[in-house]
């Protein structure tokens, strides 16, 4: 079980990471981050089968936090959209090293 779940989780996490790196749309980037978080959730659930209930508990917290993050994140994306009329992150260059 674990031998399949953990690699799967790692693969999902890697896909999410790659998405954040290559996608330019802020919302899609955020979705990729959600993918990472869900990959972690998968890992927690799988591991908790072996080592105890805490992992499942953790998943609930992760989901809650992700929801809160989504609320704030989308609000920020909307705020940016009002100024720039776009959510493509390659257009944001007011602040530049």
């Amino acid at each position: 079980m674990l031998t399949y779940a953990l690699p799967l989780s790692a693969a999902l996490f890697a896909i999410g990471t790659l998405g954040v790196v290559v996608r330019r749309n802020a919302i899609v980037m955020f979705l990729c981050i959600e993918l990472q978080l869900n990959a972690v959730n998968l890992a927690f659930v799988a591991l908790s089968r072996q080592v105890g209930i805490e992992g499942q508990l953790f998943v609930f917290f992760v989901m809650t936090v992700a929801a809160a993050e989504a609320a704030v994140g989308l609000a920020i994306i909307i705020a940016v959209f009002r100024h720039q009329r776009t959510v493509q992150v390659d257009r944001f260059n007011l602040l530049r090293w």
Partner: protein
């Protein structure tokens, strides 16, 4: 009283400062609903300050409470309480320098102050947690509140952009942190720090999950403390965020991340010291070098202070790498002094910018000292403290960390620290040089604006006083810091390995 967590009431007691601050923050939010007129804005700030004062009282009272054992999810130890002082002081000073800014920029006062209160609750939770789950919750509470604060000025596109960058990268980094926690959990069978330490000690956690888990956790925290090469978000977020929020991010938020990092490394991951030592060694060295060097070429004071905060993160990482009692106490003392100094410096930046984002270019400071001698003198004091000049708190803090590093025989890190400090004199003095040794440009003389707000004066005097006091008579603060780390590293009695 003694807490053994036999009933849920004990958790309430253990979390009393957090509860007070949280309820109070809600109160601020509600108070803002009932009144919308502009005149109420400063009052909301004063209300938030009162709430912080109440939390401070609760924090003080917790010194009389003891816990049975040292394994509970919520720690009631002096380490946490000292950290709480840093957070409370940082938050209070931030609110004080925000009062005029919030009015002037017509920000939503209730939400602003409430968010600061909630972020501070998150920090306290982080400092109290002996469980990776609570660490995660606390860190996210801080982060989410601060994402919102960074993007708080909706009229300013730069603020929004800063918020978005901080948010996307912060959430991204949280993913790594979380994955690391999951792997450690899988290896140790628990998220409790002591359980992890015991598992590592017994060899039960020797599986292939522990080390990558530790590595991911370290990178997640490296992002939170903006260590090189995970620092790239810092200058952008610091520059775009409203200046008082920048002050808060550079001081208290950073302190929270360091406190959590310290507890995890010193307690949970003490057994794999040999594995994280080289990683953090290199990160610390790189952070000091890059942070200080890049600060030299900055032209905006906010960006300069951002890189300076990265550099200070590097010094603090040296304390983590040293991992002995002197370094741990040095870390706490350093965080306190650094928080106060940084907010003091930002208080001057806010005043020079006349409660807006104007005049952040260092050239704009030309001749400022002669026009506003008190502000100029105090700014010079803060800059000297940041550079670590003897007689200021910054020197004492650096000295203490250096002592820890010397005891741990980290000679090369010590050399890097001292050499990069040397570089830092260049850019800190550059500001002082502009203030005192350069003529103000034509017309700037009349631009000094109206009177400095009363609250800013209070902040400046408090910060200046603390910087001098911790530099000249640091005894009490150092004793407190030293008492606060007693037993932190060796809480699994006798099992902590000596390295």
């Amino acid at each position: 009283m003694t807490l053994d967590y036999s009933s849920s009431f004990h958790y309430l007691v253990a979390l009393l400062p957090e509860c007070v601050l949280f309820v109070g923050g809600m109160g601020v939010l509600l108070a803002g609903v009932s009144k919308t007129d502009e005149q109420r804005r400063p009052e909301l700030g004063w209300l938030a300050l009162a709430v912080l004062a109440a939390a401070a009282v609760a924090n003080g009272w917790l010194y009389s409470v003891s816990e049975s054992g040292a394994t509970a999810m919520i720690a009631v130890d002096k380490f946490r309480l000292f950290a709480n002082w840093v957070f409370i002081v940082g938050a209070a000073l931030t609110i004080a320098i925000s009062l005029a800014y919030v009015s002037r920029q017509r920000l939503q006062a209730a939400e602003y102050y409430a968010l600061i209160a909630f972020a501070t609750v998150g920090m306290m939770v982080v400092a109290a947690s002996r469980d990776l789950m609570i660490v995660f919750l606390g860190m996210e509470t801080v982060s989410i509140a601060v994402y919102a604060l960074a993007a708080f000025n909706r009229r300013d596109p730069r603020s929004a952009e800063a918020g978005l960058k901080y948010f996307l990268l912060g959430a991204f980094a949280s993913g790594f942190l979380l994955f690391g926690i999951a792997l450690i959990y899988g290896a140790a069978g628990s998220t409790n720090l002591q359980a992890i330490a015991v598992a590592v000690q017994d060899g039960a956690a020797a599986g292939g999950l522990m080390i990558p888990g530790m590595a991911l956790l370290v990178t997640g925290f490296a992002f939170k403390v903006s260590a090189v090469p995970f620092h790239m978000w810092t200058p952008d977020a610091y520059e775009g965020a409203p200046t008082p929020v920048t002050a808060y991010m550079a001081s208290a938020v950073k302190a929270a991340a360091f406190v959590a990092f310290a507890r995890i490394l010193f307690v949970g991951l003490d057994g794999v010291y040999d594995q994280w030592f080289p990683i953090l060694w290199w990160i610390a060295a790189a952070t000091m070098v890059v942070g200080n060097l890049v600060a030299v070429v900055q032209s905006s004071i906010k960006r300069m202070l951002a890189y300076s905060s990265i550099a200070h993160g590097g010094y603090l990482l040296v304390a983590l790498v040293a991992a002995n009692d002197a370094a741990a106490a040095g870390l706490l003392f350093y965080l306190f002094v650094y928080t106060v100094t940084t907010v003091g410096a930002f208080a001057v930046v806010v005043t020079v910018g006349r409660q807006s984002e104007r005049d952040t270019a260092i050239e704009k400071y030309a001749g400022y000292g002669w026009r506003r001698p008190v502000l100029g003198t105090l700014m010079t004091l803060f800059l000297l403290s940041l550079a670590g000049f003897p007689g200021t708190g910054g020197f004492m803090a650096k000295f203490y960390v250096l002592q820890g590093a010397a005891e741990a025989h980290l000679w090369w890190l010590l050399v890097v620290l001292v050499l990069t400090t040397l570089v830092s004199y260049w850019y800190y003095l550059r500001v002082a040089w502009f203030m005192w040794m350069k003529e103000a440009p034509e017309g700037a003389v009349h631009r000094v604006g109206g009177a400095t707000p009363f609250a800013i004066y209070v902040v400046l005097l408090v910060c200046g006083g603390i910087v001098l006091a911790t530099g000249l008579l640091p005894g009490a603060a150092i004793d407190l810091a030293q008492g606060s780390v007693e037993g932190l590293r060796h809480w699994v009695a006798g099992t902590a390995p000596a390295h």
